[in-house]
Each structure stands twice: as structure tokens, then as C-alpha cells.
């Protein structure tokens, strides 16, 4: 219940932050909302010698439109996402997802940057980022680079983020006007990670599905892009047969583990159900 000792740093700029992280190396961790890191520190499952608090760095918060992209600062909290009129209008799937993350207090502190960057396969936002084909801006001592979310996740807790880098913002193309969307997450209780979850966006035109994107959460070592599942929808009427095919394709790429939420076969089957229900709701919302 008591964390180990650490030296506390409070940089005033991104440059100062990445400078500290680079020089302190593996023994330093960035502190964003802290609601993944601090619980681990309290259990002494993480014992960094240095914490670099990103909380006072200006310019890392905010939700804005930049051309055809929506841009979200890494330190934007889940609560700020839920309250965003811009996202409510242009990308409501993010709000639906944020609402099923944790609980109100955690959402006031937890940041989208923290949620997407630490590689925890249980986090919800990475799947959304795959679905929306987001790009992450990573800044290190050597400069900045962009990595597609779809390339970012390598294994549980292993991402393309290098020591000394922080994620400063993420961006994705504004979803098409009239798109359908849904995030379907089965959990044991409020606040829990997913037994299985699916994010779906799609577009319909004259009864035909013209575009679709499906991503899966907590059914593998990383979030999964169910490309074949999406393909099964595109060009179809998103009818029962196509939805069956999409669910089947998603279940085929899912690789869940057995844990206290249930055995492998249960989680895989539920994943199929989540995909179906998400497609149904997305289709009903599509204009």
C-alpha cells in the first residue's frame, strides 16, 4: 500500500521532460494522470527511482480540429473527453468508450496519453486508436516522430515508445459525416477491464456498407485490428450473414487468455457477441 522511494522532478516544458527522461534512463518513469502507475507503485510492482511529473507542462492538453484531423493532447483527461462538444459532434465513439473506463474519479485524473502509451492490453483507448487509425506524436531528446497506432503495440507493455520519449498528442482523421459507431464492452462490473470489447465505425450508403473499421480490446497481448472482419462488412448490406462473417473473422484473430474474467473459450465467444452488437448499433446510427 506504500510506494517505494523516488526522486521527484517537475519539468516546465516538454524539452525539459524528455531531457530528464533521457538522462535518467530506465530508472525514470513519466507521471501523467498516475492512475495506472501509482497503483502499481503502491503494490511495489513498479519501483522507479525517478518520477517525471508531466502535469505542469503547458500545451499537452486540449481537443481541437486541425484541418481534417482531430487532435487530442496527451494530458487530456477522460473526463475532458466526455465533456468535449467537438468530440460529441465529430467522434462520439471516443466519448462512449471513455464513459466505460474505470469510474468518475479515475476519469478525472486518467489521461488519454497514459491510457494509450503504457501498452496495457486491458486499456480501452488503444483499440479506439486502431479503429480510428490514429497517429501518435512521440517526442524525445533527438526530436519528434509520428507512429501509427496500428504499428505502435508490440506486446503486453511493449510499445514503440523508446526510453526518453513521451507521447505528446494523438490525431486521427475526422470520421466521415453520418458514420455509424459503437464501442461494446462486456465487463464484470463498472470500472473493470473488458472481458472482451469491440470498437466499430462504419459508413452506409444506399443500404451498402462502404467503409468499416473494427478493433478488439483485451483479447490479446495488444489491441487488435480486425481487418478481415471489416472486409467482411465492406460491400455487403451489413446483414446477418455479413455480421456473422465479421464476428467469425474477429474471433479468429482474437487470442485471449484465461483469467478471473473467464476462460479462453468464453472470452473468445463473448468477443464475437461484442462485435455483433457493436455492428448492430453502429449500423443503426449510420446515416
Amino acid at each position: 500500500m506504500i510506494p517505494g522511494r523516488f526522486t521527484y522532478h517537475r519539468p516546465a516544458s516538454v524539452a525539459e521532460a524528455v531531457g530528464l527522461l533521457s538522462s535518467l534512463g530506465e530508472e525514470a518513469r513519466p507521471l501523467a494522470g498516475g492512475h495506472s502507475l501509482i497503483p502499481m507503485m503502491k503494490l511495489r510492482m513498479a519501483q522507479p527511482e525517478h518520477l517525471v511529473d508531466l502535469g505542469r507542462i503547458p500545451g499537452l492538453k486540449g481537443i481541437r480540429q486541425d484541418g481534417n484531423d482531430l487532435v487530442i493532447g496527451a494530458m487530456t483527461t477522460q473526463a475532458e473527453i466526455i465533456a468535449s462538444p467537438l468530440l460529441g459532434d465529430k467522434a462520439p465513439i471516443l466519448i462512449e468508450a471513455a464513459k466505460v473506463i474505470a469510474d468518475p474519479q479515475v476519469r478525472y485524473a486518467g489521461t488519454i496519453g497514459g491510457n494509450v502509451a503504457n501498452g496495457d492490453p486491458g486499456n480501452d483507448m488503444p483499440g479506439l486508436m486502431l479503429c480510428l487509425d490514429a497517429r501518435y506524436s512521440l517526442v524525445g531528446a533527438g526530436g519528434s516522430r509520428q507512429v501509427a497506432a496500428r504499428d505502435f503495440y508490440e506486446a503486453a507493455y511493449f510499445t514503440k515508445l523508446e526510453t526518453g520519449e513521451i507521447l505528446t498528442e494523438l490525431r486521427f482523421a475526422v470520421p466521415a459525416t453520418g458514420h455509424g459507431w459503437a464501442y461494446e464492452k462486456l465487463k464484470r462490473k463498472i470500472g473493470d477491464y473488458a472481458v472482451a470489447a469491440a470498437a466499430v465505425t462504419l459508413s452506409m450508403s444506399a443500404g451498402k456498407c462502404t467503409a468499416a473499421s473494427i478493433a478488439l480490446t483485451n483479447v490479446g497481448q495488444t489491441p487488435l485490428l480486425a481487418a478481415d472482419a471489416a472486409k467482411a462488412l465492406i460491400g455487403s448490406g451489413a446483414d446477418a450473414a455479413a455480421i456473422d462473417a465479421a464476428a467469425g473473422a474477429a474471433m479468429a484473430v482474437a487470442d485471449p487468455t484465461t483469467d478471473t474474467r473467464g476462460p479462453v473459450e468464453y472470452r473468445r465467444s463473448v468477443l464475437g457477441v461484442m462485435v455483433r452488437r457493436a455492428i448492430d448499433r453502429a449500423k443503426a446510427r449510420a446515416r
Binding site: 500500500m1 510506494p3 521527484y8 501509482i38 497503483p39 468518475p104 474519479q105 485524473a109 463498472i190
Partner: protein, 170 residues
């Protein structure tokens, strides 16, 4: 390991009063409140940030004070249960309503529950029962089964929104 414990300075306003201190950066806000400031209203009920018994109001947000280092609250405004009643002792509408509607039994979850309800009613002054339940989903109670807590929060919302109150405030 070095035996020298490096301390960090901080200053924060709690219930309207300014405090300064020099503490280990690893000190959790809940311990700072309970042990340095002797504000023992916030309670500790778990190790994994689930129970919400430690909830306080920090710069207009409900936060679990067991999952924040005190140094992160440097320069912040914190309100705890001890700051909810008026200076003359008049209870806040939520405190009155919890009493009136039997919204507490052992009292251990109550400070965190009231602090969360306080912010909830700022977010949503007239919540439905369903919205109240969702709004307090970060606060566990083992005694009441929540039903009377929901009733109490509804009653407080009505009290706070009532015209007499508004007039008195204006």
C-alpha cells in the same frame, strides 16, 4: 540505497486554509491529509484505487486521494468533508440529506461518498436515479446497499435547486 530522504516543499489550500510542508514525494495525498493535517475524514479502504473512501475534491475534480502524491497537489485547492459544513456549523444539504434518509450506517464510506456527490451535483444538478448510481460508481459501500444513498443525493439535489435556496443565495 541512500539513507538521506530527499524532501519536497509543497503548499496547498485545504478547506480554505493554506498549508505548507516539506515531505517525501512518495507521500500519498490521503496520508498527508490524515497525518500531517489531522484531517481524518478521508478514509482508506483498499489498496487498488477501487473503493473511493478517500475521495476529496481537488481543483473542482473528484479524486481518489490515495492515488495522488501530495506533491501533485502543490498549489491546489482541496476540499475535504471537514470543509463541507458552513463556518457557523450549518450542515451542507448533502450532509442533512444523508442524515434524513439514512444514507449511512458505519460511516466509513460517507466522507468520500458525500465529497463525490458534491461534485456530481455540480456536474449534473438534477440527476436521475440511474445517473446518480453511475455518478457514484467509484464509491463502494458495504452497509447500505446504496438505495438510501441515492435517495439522499436526490433529496439534496432537490434542496439545492429549490427556489427558497436560490433566493437566499441571491
Amino acid at each position: 540505497m541512500t539513507n538521506e530522504i530527499a524532501k519536497t516543499k509543497l503548499s496547498m489550500t485545504v478547506n480554505g486554509r493554506q498549508y505548507t510542508a516539506e515531505i517525501e514525494p512518495r507521500m500519498l495525498l490521503v496520508h498527508f491529509l490524515r497525518e500531517h493535517l489531522s484531517l481524518t475524514g478521508a478514509h482508506i479502504g483498499c489498496d487498488t484505487s477501487h473503493c473511493g473512501a478517500c475521495t476529496v475534491d481537488l481543483d473542482g475534480r473528484s479524486v481518489k486521494s490515495c492515488t495522488i502524491f501530495a506533491v501533485q497537489a502543490d498549489g491546489s485547492q482541496v476540499t475535504t468533508i471537514e470543509g463541507m459544513a458552513a463556518p457557523d456549523g450549518t450542515l451542507h444539504a448533502l450532509q442533512q440529506a444523508f442524515h434524513e434518509h439514512h444514507g449511512l450506517q458505519c460511516g466509513f464510506c460517507t466522507p468520500g461518498m458525500i465529497m463525490r456527490a458534491h461534485r456530481l451535483l455540480q456536474e449534473n444538478p438534477r440527476p436521475t436515479d440511474e445517473e446518480i448510481r453511475w455518478g457514484i460508481s467509484g464509491n463502494l459501500c458495504r452497509c447500505t446497499g446504496y438505495q438510501n444513498i441515492v435517495k439522499a443525493i436526490r433529496a439534496a439535489a432537490d434542496m439545492l435547486a429549490s427556489p427558497q435556496r436560490k433566493e437566499a443565495a441571491e
